[in-house]
Amino acid sequence: MGLEDYRRNVSETKHASILKAGREVFLRDGFARAAVAEIARDADVSTATLYKHFASKEELFAAIIMDAVTRVEDISDQEGSDETFADLLLTIGRTYLANQFEHRANDLMRIVIGESSANPGLAAETLRVLTGRRRQRLVTLFDRLVERGIMKPNDTDLSAQLISGMIKELFVWPALFDSSFALPPDTDEKLRAIIQVFLARYEA
């Protein structure tokens, strides 16, 4: 391993530990009260190094949100398998909920919403990361499913919003107001009920 590689490696490690420390401090203190100096200390780097990785506190927070919602999310990988449409939707739903709950995306979202009047830029960026990118992936997937004759031809922007809206309505909306809200034991059944409604309308 050359010096170049070694340096890159160190830099990546630092990047990851800043993300991790930032996440913990933000979840504990909220956005406004979180201190960059403290994050740097917890990550064992200087504030100068922190700012080399993330130009601002906002940028760091956006990176943390991105990290939380993209850990297990590559739904396009699943499309090629032999899963039925119903199973594919179930996998997508479970993956999405795992991100929201296990990776504490709900808690991060709550912080941003609570502070959106004070910090509109951060809120706009978060919304873009949370919904824009995800939705685009789902629309792309649905477009391919229409092409392959698995889904009826439809306005895929609407159908993507519909399925994610229904899932949010049942699981994420209540969690926004209740930090102790956990996924109920019958989550899979509820997901299946939503998927049945969706399939009745969209399955080819």
Binding site: V112, A123, T131, K168, F177, A200
Partner: protein
């Protein structure tokens, strides 16, 4: 008008101005930072009078939410010929009322309270937010009873309509305090209602 009536009307006027001042201060400062003394001053009453009307800041905030969520007469689904138009009109009334009464800003205040006062936030959610979903399901149930919709689990029916409307018109408003009801709101709602009726229309 007797003295009794006069007193009552003064008291009602004070009640209303405390509510209005409370709403403005909560919207400006959030819940924790809102000062009861500010609210009393803006309402032009003493803090003693304020506490005669509302025993605590909590109770005042409850009343502000109550007012914001209060259903007006037109809140039910009216009878009429075209089911699609009926449901679209119902959804639009709910949305317009939410935007006019700044319900999203009040929701943001509740959400901000969750980490500090979880029980309080849950109380607000259960008493003000959940009943809205129940009311929508009941409105759909009435359309089923009128034979305008196929019998179906209206809890999931309300989820279908509520979810898609929130996705386009409520979630973004939670993140963007300056968002107003977009011009194409009715077109979005109509599209969602059509998809819904393809499933459940009688």
């Amino acid at each position: 008008m007797g003295l009794e009536n006069y007193r009552r009307s003064v008291s009602e006027a004070k009640h209303a101005s405390i509510l209005k001042a409370g709403r403005d201060v909560f919207l400006r400062d959030g819940y924790s930072r809102a000062a009861v003394s500010d609210i009393a001053r803006d309402a032009n009453v003493s803090t003693a009078t304020l506490y005669k009307h509302f025993r605590s800041k909590e109770e005042l905030f409850d009343a502000v939410l109550q007012e914001a969520y209060e259903a007006d007469e037109s809140d039910s689904i009216a009878e009429g010929a075209d089911t699609e138009d009926l449901i679209v009109a119902y959804c639009m009334r709910v949305l317009q009322s939410q935007y006019e009464r700044r319900v999203h800003a009040l929701l943001r205040i509740i959400i901000a309270e969750v980490p500090k006062a979880p029980q309080r936030a849950r109380h607000l959610y259960e008493n003000f937010v959940t009943p809205r979903h129940v009311a929508s399901a009941q409105a759909l149930e009435r359309l089923v009873a009128l034979g305008k919709l196929k019998p179906h689990d209206t809890y999931y029916g309300a989820c279908f309509l509520g979810g898609v409307m929130k996705e386009y018109l409520v979630w973004p408003a939670l993140f963007d305090a300056s968002m107003t009801l977009p011009d194409n709101a009715e077109a979005i709602v109509r599209q969602a209602v059509r998809a819904y009726l393809e499933l459940y229309g009688a």
